[in-house]
């Protein structure tokens, strides 16, 4: 099993996300994380899916995704073929703030992005392994809440959805 990033370029069509996710559900495959956003091209959406599957499964999944009428193009990449990030937020009670925490914040280059009477919110961006490591360290500080985004990714290999669209016959 490998960890893959699937980039799906789609029309902005109601229900498209559902059509894509049922491909995974039907095969009993868990989606690690999913992010939907605009793409560089007007009106074209980009869905980023992180999934851990076998090489045969990823081939199969991507072909099934491309079969969806409103999907323009889907690509898949190994971790070393994409630049990717995840953002994590950590809510820490004021009472836990002490010099050892300062050390952790400096060491991770994390930011305090909100301060309230009762708590502060730390923000840290990186790979899942990094945000997870910080999570483990912060747990003893009475961490109140944790939230991590899905992967956002840019592929290193060159490909062009625009070119693909231009080649329409």
């Amino acid at each position: 099993m490998n960890r893959y990033t699937i980039l799906v370029y789609t029309e902005n069509f109601i229900g498209i996300l559902n059509r894509i996710t049922i491909i995974f559900t039907r095969r009993g495959i868990n989606i690690n994380a999913l992010t939907a956003s605009e793409s560089r091209l007007d009106g074209i959406h980009k869905i980023t899916i992180e999934v851990t599957v076998t090489p045969e499964q990823i081939e199969h999944l991507v072909k099934q995704i491309e079969k969806v009428v409103d999907v323009i193009k889907a690509y898949y990449f190994m971790d070393d073929e994409v630049v990717y990030q995840e953002i994590a937020l950590y809510k820490i009670p004021i009472a836990s703030l002490d010099p050892s925490l300062e050390k952790v914040i400096r060491q991770f280059n994390a930011h305090i992005i909100a301060a309230e009477k009762e708590f502060v919110v730390l923000e840290f961006t990186g790979h899942k392994e990094d945000t997870q490591a910080l999570l483990e360290i912060l747990k003893p500080f009475d961490l109140l809440e944790f939230s991590r985004s899905g992967r956002v990714a840019i592929a290193k290999p060159r490909f062009s959805v625009q070119e693909f669209l231009n080649n329409q016959t």
Binding site: E11, N18, I22, H60, K63, V69, D70, I72
Partner: protein, 560 residues
């Protein structure tokens, strides 16, 4: 300005639809009201159940090659379509289904007969859409037809809210010719054709497997030309039957769980396997780990997602097989494979002796299903259409029916939907009243959609129904006998008097229990002008052989 409901009907007419199979209800009533004014331009067939409507549309689409059109109301009307959608999806049948929906402002409120049809039908459609505004109706229907019939065909569903049906808008129908995200046809890679031709030319025991893809691509002549030139033996899948006349010298039989002996067994003896428009269904391959491992595989296929899905191929040839087959025929050399073909013939002889002769020529004991089909062959017209339900009778009819021309078989292949045959036969018959349509059905399956006898009565479609009555859910009973120690758990049926039922629906009906009456009855049925219902009481515990049991390899096909 016209009402949305009129736009629906005018759009269907603009797509040259001949029939609508449907059933009315609250949320689709405006469209029904509009239909009242167009009965000279488009015919509506009122079935007795929405499942009947969609199976009838499937039967119509399968024999005509056109898009079947279905109309149903919201809620239960729409949910009754689900089986047919799943069936059409897995068997690649082009359908446009239009369902009514509650008014847009009520969506999500659990209004009367509101159900999330778009969500429910998503896995069973090639594409679907909900239309909430009158101006979106015609473009949605145009796109629906384009998607249903191009590429690998399939069912699409357009859910139209009631407000959109009653609002007024302009009617200006623009057929859809292109959807930018959708590539129905792949360009054919000439290098792949060359590579495949080289494999075929050097093969000693090449073997062609063809499926429904040949029919869908209208590539019957191209397949024949390829076989004529190369001399390669060819076997068909369940839905591929008819793509090649069975009298063709290279035709060696049928594949799969209840196919023929030689075609299954020799799959593991060929050196190059050429799969044309077929998808290596598990009912064809048996255990994949032991399927054609010795062979190099060439796969001619339109749908990229089928390549390497079940069987890894050496040379994929993506694209329309009508084109790829003719390119391949040009590229290969003329050959013959007489000794290799001879091996098929030898094994065919063994199957004849062990199974076929007894199936077709019973002498004592109860009638065999095969005897009935054998007599049907004797009296049927050359281009008669066989429609079957699901079970033992389906496999027997498929095995023994004499397929002479294309699009002469309609059956539920991928989904195996009991209850499919009767409405599908109606649809097949409506496409051409003059063709002989023979509906072979079991005593279990007919009772799943028996109400469609009423639709046959009302349309006067001259369908010939052949009920093979073994008083059992026979196929399940066969498995219970072979794999569950003969524990016949809930498979025996107390059946009604089918003849009385048929007569109540104005069918000329006859019941045969004795061997000596069978021939006259079949002959009588096949000269009858109107609908006919023939019930044949057959041996209760006959089994279908050959058989590849679940989990077994094609080599383990058994004759008894």
């Amino acid at each position: 300005m016209v009402r949305g409901a009129d736009i629906v009907v005018k759009s269907l007419i603009a797509e040259n639809s001949e029939y609508i199979f449907g059933y009315p209800g609250g949320a689709i009533m405006p469209v029904y009201d509009a239909l009242y004014d167009y009965s000279d331009k488009i015919k509506h067939v009122l079935t007795r159940h929405e499942q009947g409507a969609i199976h009838a549309a499937q039967g119509y689409a399968r024999v005509s090659g056109k898009v079947g059109v279905v109309l149903a109301t919201s809620g239960p009307g729409a949910t009754n379509l689900i089986t047919g959608l799943a069936d059409a999806q897995i068997d690649s049948t082009p359908l446009v289904c239009i369902t009514g929906q509650v008014a847009a402002h009520l969506l999500g409120s659990d209004a009367f007969q509101e159900t999330d049809v778009v969500g429910l039908s998503m896995p069973g459609t090639k594409w679907n859409i909900q239309v909430r505004r009158v101006e979106d109706i015609a473009p949605a229907i145009a796109k629906a037809f384009h998607i249903a019939k191009t590429g690998r065909p399939g069912p699409v569903l357009v859910d139209i809210t009631k407000n959109a049906q009653i609002e007024f808008g302009e009617f200006n129908y623009v057929p859809c010719l292109n959807v930018r995200s959708y590539r129905p046809y792949q360009p054919i890679n000439q290098d792949a054709v060359t590579a495949a031709a080289a494999l075929i030319d050097t093969a000693e025991r090449p073997y062609v497997l063809y499926g429904q893809g040949v029919v869908l691509a209208h590539a019957e002549n191209e397949l024949k030309a390829f076989l004529d030139k190369t001399g390669i033996p060819a076997a068909c899948t369940l839905l591929g039957s008819g793509a090649l006349p069975e009298s063709h010298p290279n035709y060696v039989g049928k594949l799969g769980m209840h196919g023929n002996y030689a075609p299954n067994l020799l799959t593991n003896k060929c050196d190059v396997l050429i799969a044309v428009g077929m998808r290596f269904d598990d009912r064809v391959t048996g255990d994949l780990q032991r399927y054609a491992k010795q062979a190099k595989v060439i796969h001619l296929e339109l749908d990229p997602s089928e390549i390497d899905k079940n069987v890894k191929c050496t040379v994929p040839i993506l694209g329309d097989c009508k084109k790829s087959l003719s390119l391949l025929t040009e590229a290969v050399s003329q050959k013959s494979h007489e000794t290799w073909l001879e091996r098929f013939r030898e094994l065919e002889g063994q199957e004849k002796e062990a199974v076929v002769s007894n199936d077709l020529h019973g002498t004592h004991g109860g009638l065999h299903m095969g005897e009935v089909i054998h007599l049907v062959n004797k009296f049927k017209e050359e281009d008669a259409i066989l429609v079957t339900d699901v079970g033992q009778h389906q496999m027997i009819a498929w095995r023994y029916f004499d397929f002479k021309t294309t699009r002469t078989q309609v059956t539920s292949g991928g989904l195996g939907t009991m209850g499919f045959a009767l409405p599908a036969a109606l649809g097949a018959q409506l496409n051409d009243y003059k063709k002989q349509v023979i509906c072979v059905v079991g005593d279990g399956g007919i009772q799943m959609t028996i109400q469609e006898l009423g639709t046959i009565m009302q349309t006067k479609a001259p369908v010939k129904v052949v009920l093979l009555n073994n008083n059992y859910l026979g196929m399940v009973r066969q498995w219970q006998q072979l794999f569950f120690d003969k524990r016949y758990s809930f498979t025996e049926l107390d059946n009604p008097d089918f003849i009385k039922i048929a007569e109540a629906y104005s069918f000329k009906a006859r019941k045969v229990t004795e061997r000596e009456d069978l021939e006259a009855a079949v002959a009588e049925m096949l000269v009858q002008e109107g609908p006919y219902f023939l019930e044949v009481v057959v041996e209760k515990e006959d089994n279908v052989f050959p058989m590849i049991a679940t989990g077994c390899s094609v080599e383990e096909v058994r004759l008894s």
